[in-house]
């Protein structure tokens, strides 16, 4: 389940950043290594919200530093809403 979810998020980050999926590892710092600026940070967040039909709360935004953080946050939000990961 998490594997699929991670792949989905890598695909979003790859699309927004222009970096190949292979370059995006769990510990990759999105801002420093993938040149994610404010515009791309919003693009990623909105794309994740649309893809998984979730809403990222203001207080969760600063927690997303790496791919792992993003996967963990989406997992938590999906568990809270009870949505289908593949939906």
């Amino acid at each position: 389940m998490t594997g699929n979810l991670e792949q989905e998020i890598i695909s979003i980050i790859s699309d927004v950043s222009g970096f190949d999926p292979e370059e995006i590892k769990p510990d990759t710092n999105l801002q420093n290594k993938l040149e994610i600026d404010s515009i791309k940070a919003i693009e990623i967040t909105v794309a994740i919200e649309k893809k998984f039909k979730i809403s990222v709360r203001d207080e969760d935004v600063p927690k997303i530093v790496t791919l792992r953080d993003a996967v963990e946050l989406v997992n938590n939000l999906l568990n809270q809403t009870g949505s289908d990961v593949n939906g």
């Binding site: 801002q31 919003i42 649309k50």
Partner: protein, 469 residues
């Protein structure tokens, strides 16, 4: 690959984004071709001469050229600053209301103190707002992801006169009132075009795209003018090149479309390649509004005119939502808001008002009357204007469409509302291998800062794929 019809990258459209993208690719050693339907480069960033007067057609100054600004980074990296001199007008913008005048100085501290003098009860809020727009961190900006510019302004200020005053140049540079505009778009326009605005190249705005075209040619790139693209060639989900209107085929590994998305997907690709659902989704998105422009040539400068090179905004009342409603109905004088600018050489004036898209026949019927009414309205603020006019002409949204082929004459790409600004459908990478998008129809990009950013970002994606970065 020595075939003369074969390129590494073909870019459709020689607007600022297409030119910037082309410059980066050509400088990296790629064989670049730009195809442009007009006879000159620039898109909305062109100038023209007529009857001895020179006018900037639409874009008339730009922002984000401060130290550390992205436009400065791009123009310096490409060497544009070595070809043309870029100056800055001080102040860059002034705003006239029935009650006060707000001046946007190059020194932001001076702007802040002027604002505090007018709105002393908002002193702390003004300081906090400027601090936020100039130095908030990434997380603070991400929190704006689903908010409107109005809600952001109301989180700082109480005074509606102040809120509408700050929002007017943002409306003028982005095509939406604060209640409909994405908060981050509003912040970007305010910080890049207003606080850091007023830059202008040598001679006229055309100098900027001309310099970029020169760099492309210096790096063995080509620009073909008066060339209309008919189709983008795709085989097995890989882009192969383009077919021109005269059925000539040009091959390339990469195609970058800096045209509007409707044209790219509906006409250049078509339902067979992208599927019916994608076109249906695309149809539901709303383009930004267009602009109605007056071009006035005058006999000599006179005292009632604002300082040349300064953007003068007219705000006759403090209800931009109402103005937007009136604009949609083509009641421009009821809307009341406009931008007026005397050219740096002092002998021409441009006046711009937001305008909705209407059919060509509508503008044929009403353009003259709308232009005259607009001029009469301006004369209320600038007495004796008509006495000085030697040349008078106007561009309607239909004119803008004719010269740039932007969908519905849109001035800023898709309307930058919270619901559609960051939609993943506007990504610069498409689902077709080798096909990329750039320009103000992608993501948040608009104006010269946005299109510079977009052209740069698309080029970097391709260079990364080529392992040139």
């Amino acid at each position: 690959m020595a075939n003369r019809n074969t390129y590494d990258a073909i870019i459709i459209g020689a607007g600022i984004s297409g030119l910037v993208c082309g410059c980066y690719l050509a400088k990296a050693g790629m064989k670049v071709l730009i195809l442009e339907q007009h006879y000159k480069p620039g898109g909305y960033c062109t100038s023209f001469k007529t009857k001895g007067f020179q006018f900037d057609a639409a874009a008339h100054s730009f922002g984000n050229y401060r130290e550390g600004g992205h436009v400065r980074k791009v123009l310096t990296e490409l060497g544009v600053d070595k070809i043309i001199k870029i100056k800055r007008f001080d102040p860059s913008d002034i705003l006239i209301t029935p009650d006060f005048k707000i001046t946007f100085w190059n020194n932001t501290e001076d702007t802040i103190s002027d604002l505090i003098n007018i709105f002393p009860e908002e002193k702390n809020n003004i300081v906090k707002y400027f601090d936020f727009v100039t130095s908030a961190n990434q997380s603070e900006f991400v929190k704006l992801k689903d908010k409107t510019f109005s809600s952001l302004l109301h989180s700082f200020f109480k005074d509606e006169k102040l809120i509408n005053s700050i929002a007017l140049p943002v409306f003028g540079n982005g095509g939406l009132p604060p209640s409909l505009m994405h908060a981050f778009s509003g912040v970007k326009i305010f910080s890049e075009d207003i606080i850091d605005g007023g830059y202008y190249p040598d001679d006229c705005i055309q100098s900027l795209p001309n310099a970029l075209s020169y760099i492309i040619k210096q790096n063995n790139g080509s620009i073909f003018y008066r060339k209309l693209v008919k189709k983008i060639l795709v085989e097995n989900n890989n882009v192969k090149g383009v077919i021109l209107n005269n059925n000539e085929i040009l091959y390339s590994k990469y195609v970058v479309s800096s045209c509007d998305m409707t044209q790219t997907f509906k006409i250049f690709l078509g339902e067979k390649i992208i599927g019916k659902q994608f076109l249906i989704n695309l149809r539901n998105f709303i383009p930004s509004i267009s602009t109605f422009i007056l071009y006035l040539g005058i006999d000599k400068p006179f005292k009632e005119l604002p300082q040349p090179g300064v953007n003068m905004w007219n705000l006759p009342h403090y209800d931009l939502d109402e103005s937007y409603k009136q604009i949609q109905k083509c009641n421009f004088n009821k809307a009341g808001i406009y931008l007026l600018r005397v050219s740096p050489n002092g002998n021409t004036i441009s006046a711009l008002a937001s305008a909705p898209f209407r059919t060509k026949s509508f503008w044929k019927l009403y353009k003259k009357k709308i232009a005259e009414d607009f001029l009469n309205n301006i004369e209320k603020l600038i007495p004796n204007l008509k006495k000085h006019i030697l040349y008078f002409n106007a561009a309607s949204p239909s004119t803008l469409y004719r010269y740039t082929l932007n969908y519905k004459g849109s001035a800023f790409g898709w309307a930058k509302t919270p619901s559609q600004t960051f939609d993943p459908i506007f990504s610069r990478t498409t689902f077709i291998n080798g096909l990329y998008l750039t320009g103000h129809w992608t993501s948040i990009a608009f104006g010269i800062p946005g299109t510079c950013y977009s052209g740069y970002d698309t080029a970097k994606r391709i260079l990364r794929k080529e392992n040139i970065l």
